[in-house]
């Protein structure tokens, strides 16, 4: 059985047919809020049930409950506030119960029923969610630049935001049917924002050994400079799966959702989202969703222990490395040999090699994957570059 959606019911707020046509016309007459790419993907994720049980952007009671208790006011676990920020001028004259039109790229994307407009303390948000107010933290920097007020209320999706990876993009409704059709009862989900190296492959296959299927679900959308470009991640995974994975035990699809770099809290969020896709297990590795040294390498594992009611089972897998004595990829739990035998697969070192145009050794990266990455003129996001 695939996992039950978070909160019990898969949210569907996608408007179809005649009603959609009518509301698209109405949207043109309503007060408008233009969204950026991140918020547009949040709206689509709400409407397609990725964020079930959320039906819209958080109202104040839920916002505070998530911020301080990591749960919605209904007591359902939720760790990252999903909020819509606006300038006071954008909602001047808008009252509770009014409808707003949410626009993206100058076109109507969704309608929103305003339940509440309220103020927020961005520093406090940063402190709670990121455990720091340090402006060098990419998530903090982004939150501090957001607008003064928040608007809470349900959304109804009228148009799909553009998706360049449409052919490898699945919604929860689709993965649920797919997993059922394949007869999978246990599904381990893998979150990533990276090109796969042998350490990732080891972790995925260690999990796959004990479940029916592996669901590889990289994030596309905004990431920080220095991270891999979306198209490089997608092509690299296609190559890896084609050459090294049994086709019928893996599903690969992308999720358009911004990285927040909130470490432990974001790890829980990533798990909840994959539960909505139908996964029963979620792989949590070292420094999940972390950045710099803001979070302890296994801090996310501790936080999972505070959520016995999460409804998806975390699989804690230690960092993999190559051991010359064992003669294979191993981890601390299974290899007794001292450091001098161990060869660490460092993402940072790999990036440096790739930047120099060097082909990484095979124990670090599969040659087919390396080829994809090296053939891209510029595999990394650059400083100041708008992405997604």
């Amino acid at each position: 059985m695939v996992s039950r959606p978070h909160g019990g019911r898969l949210v569907d707020r996608v408007v179809r047919g005649r009603r959609r046509e009518r509301l698209l016309e109405e949207a043109l007459e309503l007060p408008r809020v233009e969204l950026d790419a991140g918020l547009a993907s949040d709206v689509a994720n709400i409407a397609h049930g990725v964020y079930s049980p959320l039906e819209g952007f958080l109202v104040q009671e839920d916002y505070e409950s998530v911020l301080y208790d990591m749960r919605l006011s209904s007591d359902i676990p939720w760790t990252i506030p999903i909020v819509l920020d606006v300038d006071p001028s954008q909602v001047a004259g808008v009252r509770e119960g009014d409808d707003l039109a949410l626009f993206y790229n100058g076109r109507p994307l969704a309608l929103m029923r305003v339940e509440e407009v309220y103020g927020w303390d961005r520093g406090e948000y940063a402190e709670r969610v990121f455990k720091t107010r340090d402006p060098r933290h990419p998530g903090v920097r982004k939150v501090m630049a957001r607008r003064e007020l928040l608007v809470g209320g349900p959304v109804d999706l009228l148009a799909e935001p553009p998706e360049p990876f449409e052919a490898v993009r699945l919604w929860p409704k689709e993965t649920r049917v797919l997993f059922e059709a394949r007869g999978w009862r246990t599904i381990a989900a893998f979150q990533t924002r990276n090109v796969p190296h042998t350490g990732h492959e080891y972790v995925q296959k260690a999990a796959l050994t004990f479940v029916d299927g592996l669901f590889i679900n990289p994030l596309v959308g905004w990431k920080k400079p220095g991270d891999y470009r979306d198209e490089v991640i997608v092509e690299a995974y296609k190559a890896l799966i084609k050459h090294y994975y049994p086709r019928d035990s893996v599903v690969f699809s992308v999720l358009r959702m911004e990285m927040r770099y909130a470490g432990p809290r974001e790890a829980i969020h990533h798990a909840i989202v994959r539960k909505n896709f139908g996964a029963t297990h979620f792989i949590v590795g070292r420094d999940h969703a972390g950045v710099g040294s803001y979070y302890g390498p296994y801090e996310a594992w501790d936080l999972f222990r505070e959520f016995p009611d999460l409804g998806i089972t975390p699989l804690f897998v230690r960092e993999a490395f190559y051991c010359r004595k064992c003669g294979q990829m191993v981890n601390e739990k299974i290899c007794p040999h001292p450091e001098e035998y161990r060869v660490r697969i460092s993402g940072t070192r790999l990036r440096e090699m790739i930047k120099r145009g060097e082909k990484p050794p095979e124990y670090m990266m599969r040659p087919e994957v390396a080829e994809v990455v090296l053939s891209h003129p510029n595999p990394f996001i650059e400083e100041g570059e708008a992405q997604g």
Binding site: R4, G8, V168, K173, V177, L178, A181
Partner: protein
């Protein structure tokens, strides 16, 4: 609102048990409210199980066309 309601007949036994349940737990004001809540639970549960046959076929068609099935 009365115009939006219809009567439903249930066995007296069950009705008495429901009344006791309400008195003990205090969460509902009346048997009507309890019945309405339970029915909603059951029906929305069914909705959650899903897609109509037609929807599911549509989803499968897309999955096939993309090579997932």
């Amino acid at each position: 609102m009365a115009g939006d309601k219809v009567e439903v007949r249930i066995s007296r036994d069950l009705y008495e048990k429901a009344r006791e349940f309400i008195e003990e737990t205090g969460g509902f004001k009346s048997v009507d409210e309890l019945v309405e809540f339970l029915l909603q639970e059951v029906l929305s549960g069914e909705e959650e199980a899903g897609l109509t046959q037609e929807d599911e076929e549509k989803v499968k068609e897309r999955l096939r066309s993309l090579g997932y099935l």
